[in-house]
C-alpha cells in the first residue's frame, strides 16, 4: 500500500459540470463529471466534492476513466447529499483530490464484503482485479431488495465462471435474509482466500475483520471519518495515530489491530470528542 503524496495540483479546487445523473436505488444516485486530476485515481481513493454554498463532502470514487470521466455514488443521508441529489446535468460542482491510499491489487482467491454505498469502491476494485483473480466472491448487503447496489456491474466485471455474487437483505426481500456478514463465516470455513476486501458500515467491517482474524485471512478495509482538510493537517479524521485521509482510507488487518478500541466502536465528532458509532 502506497502512502499518498501531497500535491498542490491535487488539492486545488477545480470546478466542473455534472455530465450525467443515474438513479441506482430509491436513495442512491450516480453522478459523473470530467476531472483530469482524478483520471488516474485508484480503487479506495476518495475525493472532496464541493456543493457550492452548501458543504464539501468526502466521497469514495466509483470509477475513473483515462479520459477523465469520474463517477461517484451518492446516498441521500443529510443536507449536503440532498442538495446534491437535487442537482441536474450541467450544474457546477467543485472537486479536490484524489486523496488517500488505495487497495492492494492481490491475485488469486478474493472475497469482497460490502454494504450500502460501500459497494462502489468494490466495483471499481473488481474491474482492476479482473485479470488477476482466479475466484471472486462478492457479498453485497442492503436493507431491502431495491437498495442492493451494483449487482449487475459486479457480475459483468470478472469472468462468469470465476465469479459468485451473494446478496443479503435485512428484510429478506432478496437473497439471504440478514446482514452482509451472515454468509461470511460459512464461506471462510469452506474456502481459502488470499484476501478479503471490505467497505461499508463500520460495525459490519469490524465483524468481517474479527472473522478474518479468526480464520487467519489477510484483510483490507476502507474506513470513513469526518473529513475537513483531506491532507493530514486538521486531525478531524484521526483513528488511533492515523489520519484516515492520508494514511487511509484503506487499512490492513495489521493496522486495524492497533486501533481495535476505536475500529467499529467510536469516531470523533465535529468538536473532536470521541462518540460511539451509530
Amino acid at each position: 500500500m502506497k502512502l499518498s503524496a501531497y500535491r498542490i495540483a491535487t488539492n486545488t479546487l477545480r470546478t466542473t459540470r455534472i455530465l450525467s445523473v443515474k438513479t441506482e436505488s430509491p436513495t442512491v444516485r450516480t453522478f459523473t463529471f470530467k476531472d483530469r486530476q482524478c483520471a488516474n485515481a485508484k480503487p479506495g481513493q476518495f475525493l472532496m466534492l464541493w456543493i457550492p454554498g452548501v458543504d464539501e463532502i468526502p466521497l469514495s470514487i466509483l470509477d475513473a476513466k483515462e479520459n477523465g470521466i469520474i463517477s461517484v455514488a451518492i446516498k441521500k443521508v443529510g443536507e449536503a447529499t440532498q442538495a446534491l441529489h437535487n442537482k441536474k446535468v450541467g450544474e457546477i460542482i467543485g472537486i479536490r483530490g484524489p486523496f488517500g491510499n488505495s487497495f492492494t491489487l492481490k491475485e488469486g482467491r478474493i472475497l469482497m464484503v460490502s454494504g450500502g454505498t460501500g459497494t462502489a469502491p468494490m466495483l471499481f476494485l473488481s474491474k482492476k482485479l479482473a485479470s488477476r483473480v482466479t475466484r471472486l466472491i462478492s457479498v453485497i448487503g442492503a436493507k431491502t431488495r431495491d437498495e442492493l447496489l451494483f449487482m449487475n456491474g459486479m457480475k459483468k466485471t470478472v469472468d462468469k465462471e470465476k465469479t459468485q455474487i451473494i446478496a443479503t437483505t435485512e428484510d429478506g426481500s432478496y437473497g439471504i435474509k440478514g446482514l452482509a456478514t451472515t454468509p461470511v463465516e460459512r464461506l471462510l470455513e469452506k474456502e481459502k482466500f488470499d484476501m478479503i476486501y471490505t467497505c461499508g458500515p463500520e460495525q459490519m467491517m469490524r465483524k468481517v475483520f474479527d472473522l478474518a482474524e479468526k480464520y487467519g485471512v489477510a484483510l483490507e478495509a476502507s474506513l470513513e471519518r469526518l473529513m475537513r482538510c483531506a491532507v493530514g493537517l486538521c486531525g478531524s479524521c484521526v483513528i488511533g495515530g492515523y489520519c484516515v485521509c492520508k494514511e487511509g482510507p484503506v487499512f490492513t488487518a495489521e493496522q486495524l489491530r492497533e486501533v481495535k478500541n476505536e475500529f467499529g466502536v467510536s469516531k470523533r465528532d465535529f468538536d473532536g470528542r470521541k462518540i460511539p458509532l451509530e
Binding site: L13, G235, V238, G241, C243
Partner: protein
Amino acid sequence: MRLANPTMLASGILGLSAESLGNIVKGGAGAIVTKSVGLKPRKGYSNPTIVQTSCGLINAVGLPNPGINEFVKEIREAKNFNVPLIVSVYGFSAEEYAKVAKKAVDAGADAVELNVSCPHVRETGSEIGQNPEVLAEVVRKVKASVPKPVLVKLSPNVTDMVEIAEVATEAGADALTAINTVKAIAIDPETAMPILSNKIGGLSGTAIKPIAIRCVYEIYEHVKVPIIGCGGITNWQDAVEFILAGATAIQIGTAIAQKGPSVFKAVTRGINAYLKRKGFKSVNEIVGLSHRN
C-alpha cells in the same frame, strides 16, 4: 522551559488527539503545541474549511475543540511523550482564557500559548490580540492564574505589531509566537462565490514566510523575551532565517502535509549542520545575528 531542539509543532495542526501529537514527537519535534482549546466544546465551521492556493493554504476551520474539561484527558496522555507540552488556549473573555489556562496547567501542561490571533472567529482570537487594552488584561489574568510560562501568539493582521508585542510583554508574556495566519480569501470564478464557508480565513505556508520573518525582525528590536518564529517554514534554511531575524525557536505546521512529521528531524539536522559549518556552538549564538550587520 528547555527544548531538546528548537523545532515545535505549530498550533492547529493535528493537535486534538494525544496519539497524533505522539507521531509529531516521533518525527522529532522539540515541543508540541495543541490545537486551541476553549471553555466549551465547539463544532467549528461547515466545509469547505480549507482552500489550497499556489503558495499556501487558507483555512477557516472555526476552532473546533471538545472543551477543556474533556481535553484534559488528552493533556494527561500527551504528558508522557517527554517533550514540553504547550496547550493553546482561547476564550471569549479574559476570565475564560484564565480558567482554561489554569485547567490545562493543572492537568499537566508545561506552558500555555494564548491564541489572541485566530483571524476567523468573532469575539476571540485576533479580536482580542488587536486591542491593546483587552490583550493586556487577558495576559495579566492568565499570568495571575498559572505558575507556568505564558506564550502569546501574535496576529500579523494589525497596523503596528511592535506595539502589540510590547503590550503583551509588559503585561507579563514570557515569550511571543510570531505569527498566526494572515487574513485571506479565495473566490471561485465559475460560481463567483467565496470558497470557504466562512468566506474569510487565514493564509499559512510559504506565502507568508517573508512577512513572518519581517515581524520577528521588527519585534526582536523592541522586546527582551524569547520569540518563537512561525509561518511557512518547510526546511532548515527557512528556520535559520527566522533565527537570524531574532527567533529562539521555530514552529512548523503546514509543511507537515507535504513532508510528514519527520520534517522536524530534517530541520533540526539542517540547523545543526549549519551551526557546525559556521563554527557556532549553539542556536543561542545566532539568535538575532542579522541585526548586527
